[in-house]
């Protein structure tokens, strides 16, 4: 289907919205009524038609506005995009992966014409038509990673693999859940995850690393992660935390349904062919509580998950102070009925809320 791109903002007046279609395909992250860390990896080989899993790089109604937001973040703070000198080849790998995937998966929106190393890339939604020489940096307006990630939703971490570890050696990070690429660049897998509570003790990162080191070309993987954000703010960076942190105090029982957003990351992992690097796209989806509550199953489940979440996790995810208000709101959408397994809303089969 043809996508109607929203004209919206993720800052200031926050005109961001989800259409009914976007709500239905929202990647709700809880497959059961409780949550604890796990290495919840699966193959990234498509999924239900029109779900966020269907294509290699999901393009949705927020694409054009998200790319405008990214350009603004990079203009304000160029350090959000960095690539250590040895990562340029991986940047070309990433450019190829995204151009090939998007032109094959969305032929009405993107075209890639290749004649040897002479490539022409057409991005219709953003009005781009560039010809360049593959592997020749002088023929692009930015480095290859920056060029293509200015045209792809979600953050991109490009990880070098050496010494049985993964190293955060390049990335474009403007829609992050409160971590700094500029500070974490050059760190290994355990170091950049160091501030995460509980998961180290549970052996999560050791197992996750083992899995990721063995990802093969053509066999990408994926998982979901989540947090909460007040207002549909994409750039919840530590750099700007002194500016946006105060927004958490603007939530009231009256506005919580529209202000409080579940923030879900679709994380995917692709092996890159020339560099043997691993690219780790982190695609952020936002959905307001009131939109989520249109799926009775999600209302019931979100209440139970947030109610039973360990305090450390609610603190780490930054909503411990607002949790009582969040639970007051969500409890109205939990009638105690059982829920079906899995993340999908099951709108046809799940019962309506009992009042």
């Amino acid at each position: 289907m043809t996508i109607q791109f929203n004209d919206e903002t993720f800052r200031d007046d926050y005109s961001f919205y989800n259409s009914e279609r976007a709500i239905k395909r929202f990647p709700f992250p809880f497959h059961e009524d409780n949550y604890m860390y796990s290495v919840n990896m699966e193959q990234h080989r498509g999924g239900p038609v029109d779900s966020v899993y269907e294509k290699r790089f999901d393009v949705d109604e927020h694409y054009v506005s998200e790319m405008r937001d990214r350009a603004e973040v990079l203009a304000d703070d160029p350090l959000r995009c960095q690539s250590l000198p040895h990562m340029t080849l991986a940047g070309w790998d990433l450019l190829e992966l995204i151009m090939v995937s998007k032109s094959e998966d969305y032929p009405d929106l993107f075209e890639l014409h290749r004649d040897g190393d002479n490539w022409r890339w057409v991005n219709k939604p953003l009005g781009i038509d560039d010809s360049f020489v593959f592997l020749d940096e002088t023929t692009l307006p930015y480095g290859p990673m920056e060029y293509i990630t200015r045209q792809a939703q979600g953050d991109f971490c490009v990880l070098d693999q050496r010494d049985d570890n993964l190293w955060m050696d390049a990335g474009t990070v403007t829609t992050q859940a409160d971590w700094s690429l500029d500070f974490d660049i050059g760190m290994n897998f355990f170091e950049w995850h160091a501030p995460v509570p509980l998961a180290h003790e549970k052996g999560i990162f050791v197992r996750a690393l083992k899995f990721l080191l063995n990802i093969q070309q053509g066999a990408p993987a994926r998982r979901l992660n989540w947090t909460m954000t007040v207002n549909p703010l994409l750039d919840t960076s530590p750099e700007n935390y002194h500016k946006w942190g105060i927004q958490k105090t603007t939530v009231t029982p009256e506005n919580i349904g529209s202000k409080q957003h579940l923030r879900v990351e679709l994380q995917t992992f692709f092996r890159l062919p020339r560099s043997n690097a691993l690219v780790f796209p982190i695609r952020c989806y936002l959905c307001s509580f009131q939109d989520l509550m249109t799926a009775p199953k999600w209302g019931r489940r979100l209440h139970r998950v947030i109610r039973d979440l360990p305090e450390e996790l609610a603190t780490y995810k930054g909503f411990i102070d607002n949790r009582p208000m969040i639970l007051d709101y969500l409890s109205k959408f939990d009638d105690g009925l059982p829920t079906s397994d899995g993340i999908w809303p099951d709108l046809e089969t799940e019962p309506a809320l009992k009042t």
Binding site: S180, F183, F190, H200, E239, I246, T249
Partner: protein, 198 residues
């Protein structure tokens, strides 16, 4: 007492050892303040024949004792920044088999370790030992400015003036810990500063 046992912490936080003499084609020893004591402990006449000591006293009176070790080359300078060009040249000129010994404050060790890494010195040839002040070199995540020798949590960023809390999250490339605004969600509500390890 110049030795301090750091509490266990998160995975990005550096850990330090105890210097020991190793066979090497040359020895580069970089220290500040009480780091001099670790050098005095590890130094041997044989090692000093091929040793270059770079020392930043920071008001401590160890310079004469270090000089008396009679290293092949000795330098004492007022600050790390003043010594930086010399340190950089020592790493760039290094030959295979150089052994590196870094000791003193975390700020000194971190900066010299990064300089060594940039010059391609293998990490297996670098030893570190913490001595003296437990003050930290902090980077403000907001303005990116570095504040040296931070002893309290929270502290005021010496560049942008925000009230920052002291994280254990550490970047080897920045040679600094991360400082994050403590009163962003409740401006003006800044707890009383206390020692980082109190």
């Amino acid at each position: 007492m110049s030795k301090f046992t750091f509490p266990t912490s998160i995975r990005s936080r550096p850990v330090y050892g105890t210097l020991e003499e190793r066979d090497g084609s040359a020895h580069l020893l970089i220290a500040d303040a009480h780091g001099a004591e670790a050098i005095l402990d590890v130094a041997t006449p044989l090692m000093m024949e091929k040793a270059h000591i770079i020392y930043i006293p920071k008001g401590e009176a160890f310079e004469d004792k270090l000089r008396a070790l009679n290293p092949a080359s000795f330098y004492a300078g007022p600050t790390y920044a003043a010594a930086e060009a010399r340190i950089h040249k020592a790493f760039v000129d290094a030959k295979m088999g150089l052994q590196v010994y870094l000791t003193g404050t975390e700020g000194l060790i971190g900066q010299a370790q990064y300089a060594a890494m940039e010059a391609g010195i293998p990490h297996t040839a670098i030893q570190t030992e913490h001595r003296g002040s437990t003050a930290r070199r902090m980077q403000c995540v907001h303005c990116k400015g570095i504040t040296e020798d931070v002893e309290t949590d929270p502290f005021v960023c010496s560049h942008c003036g925000l009230n920052l809390f002291v994280r254990d999250h550490y970047s080897r490339r920045r040679a600094a810990y991360q400082g994050v605004c403590i009163d962003a969600e409740d401006p003006g509500n800044v707890p009383q500063a206390k020692g980082i390890y109190e």
